[in-house]
Subunit: 341 residues, 2 copies
């Protein structure tokens, strides 16, 4: 059996762009985040400013160079500033159409294996003043290194006889999933499509993934904050490794009555287990959780006082990793939690 | 001739909800802004929190009480907390449809004269985590007291022989406009529809209102910040007076070459004049500008050093009025200007 993972190991696996902070090869991007000097920043020129919106790794840069002329002519690659512009200064619809053409070409030519997981789901890319830059097919988002947005919900049950007075519903991902098959997950999770409201996404996914009643979720699911990190893919994510995913997850807690039992519905989940805090600690240290779901569990433990300064020497470093300033603008900047009335 | 208006008078006309700060009848709303104790706050319950999204004045509250049963049953008016909920916990599409039914009923019955300016333009309402709560017909937005968003651009020409080295293109609004006919305006201005990008809105309006070339605007229009205020309508706005409009305007500067002359196109503008700073100061003090356009001019003067601490004793108070914290969430919270590359 492999080495036990600490909580700091687990958050570092997810917020991994920044682990090389001291390496000489990393530079500051326009927003101050350190990136590898092989990584280019996708920028738009917008309202008289230069706004960074994505990271492009060398494999993608190479393919941009190789695009057929009618597509290539809209790409400007500046090796001096390590920036890329694509069709800058057009309507969101036009850039969306252009990126779809590029992604479709790469998909047909099997240039990137990640595009074989094509979903026909459009994900948004934002500028810094609340406007939409374009939409990108979900499976192609990683190639353009743009911010991704999702929701994660932890369903817990009051259990006075258990440590910390609660147990947590943990699903096991289906063995047939293309990404992280068989790994443990959060009770409910999903990605945010363009125009989708985070709360409505939770309500929908809670039904589809766990058969949780809409009225329960609507009345009791509580937004408790966001987690933000910059993930670099490895082979478990499906598709290419080394792609950069800055991510924001809206995090919800939901107290589930003992009588309500989450049940798989759409085939994404194999089974649900009601686990104690100790069981989850073991599963975490054994590396059994999908990486970003491990981070949501650790955040839950911190918020509920299960992990604290007394028992977790790395607490401050852990918190720094799970609340990163994302390198690109978007609605994660708007959040301000108002609890109660 | 009426009394000359000071710059402070002018910004107070636009940011006018807050002028009664010391009156006993004003209370703190959930977000801390003082509002009249006859004003109710429209709230949504969202992700376990209560989020304020609009102000409802007594005339609108009365009409909500009088709605026919199938519509009335979705409204909850709580006189204790002075809050109103409407169809809370539904999808944005459902709330949008519901509000359209209410507004259409009021329009047919001529309940509010402002609805006679129906525009068939949908304006967005946001929650505090970047999601859309609903869309509202533009002319009905004031009845629900939600944040409104727009863009204003000041087109200036270098003029070494003029004071401060510049002149500014000032349009006169058409005499047939339903709102503020015949008043002076900013070079380009417009309201933001749902999903519209502020910069693209400027590009479009610059063509429609002033025949400015797209390439000039795209390359040279520069976002210089936002102005935010809470306006209360008077009769010049068309429709009811006393409606509350929290507003954010994205503010752009554009240097226009001497050879380019703005020209009316869509009939909204009667004529353009190239004015010196002194002429504009006189027009401002004579109250000839549309109120929120006066504020954009004052903000331009401050940013360009024309108004400063030496010549404007009220500078601090003026800045406070034109950069209000808006009472409701939205993309105005995302802005962070990055100048240069």
């Amino acid at each position: 059996m492999s080495k036990q993972k600490s909580n700091l190991d687990l958050v570092r696996e997810v917020d991994c762009l920044f682990n090389h902070r001291n390496q000489k090869s990393f530079r500051q991007d326009p927003d101050g985040a350190p990136v590898d000097d092989t990584v280019y920043t996708w920028i738009i020129r917008h309202g008289g400013r230069t706004v960074p919106i994505g990271y492009l790794v060398p494999a993608v840069l190479e393919e941009l160079h190789e695009l057929p002329a009618p597509l290539r002519e809209h790409v400007e690659i500046d090796s001096q500033s390590q920036t890329v512009t694509m069709m800058t200064g057009v309507l969101a619809e036009d850039l969306t159409k252009y990126l779809a053409e590029v992604a479709n070409l790469w998909r047909e030519h099997r240039t990137f294996s990640i595009l074989q997981t094509w979903r026909d789901e459009l994900w948004p890319v934002y500028n810094d003043v609340g406007g939409l830059v374009c939409n990108i097919e979900r499976s192609a988002a990683g190639l353009f290194g743009v911010n991704r947005y999702g929701v994660h919900l932890t369903g817990f049950v009051r259990s006075p006889e258990s440590s910390h007075g609660l147990k947590i519903w943990i699903p096991k991902r289906s063995a047939s999933k293309s990404t992280f098959p068989g790994m443990l997950d959060n009770t409910v999770a999903g990605g945010l499509m363009t125009g989708e409201d985070p709360f409505e996404c939770v309500v929908r996914e809670a039904d589809e993934e766990a058969s949780l009643p809409e009225s329960l979720v609507r009345n009791s699911a509580t937004l408790v904050g966001t987690i933000t990190y910059v993930y670099v893919t490895d082979q478990r994510a499906g598709g290419e490794s080394g792609l950069i995913y800055p991510e924001c997850q809206w995090v919800y807690d939901l107290e589930i009555p003992a009588a309500v039992v989450p049940t798989p519905k759409d085939g994404e989940v194999e089974s649900f287990d009601l686990c104690t805090v100790e069981e989850i600690r073991d599963q975490l240290s054994e590396g059994r959780f999908k990486p970003n779901c491990a981070v949501v569990m650790i955040d839950f433990f911190i918020r509920h006082g299960i992990l604290n300064r007394a028992n977790e020497p790395d607490l401050k470093e852990i918190c720094r990793h799970i609340h990163r300033k994302l390198p690109f603008p978007g609605p994660h900047e708007a959040i301000h939690i108002q609890r109660g009335h």
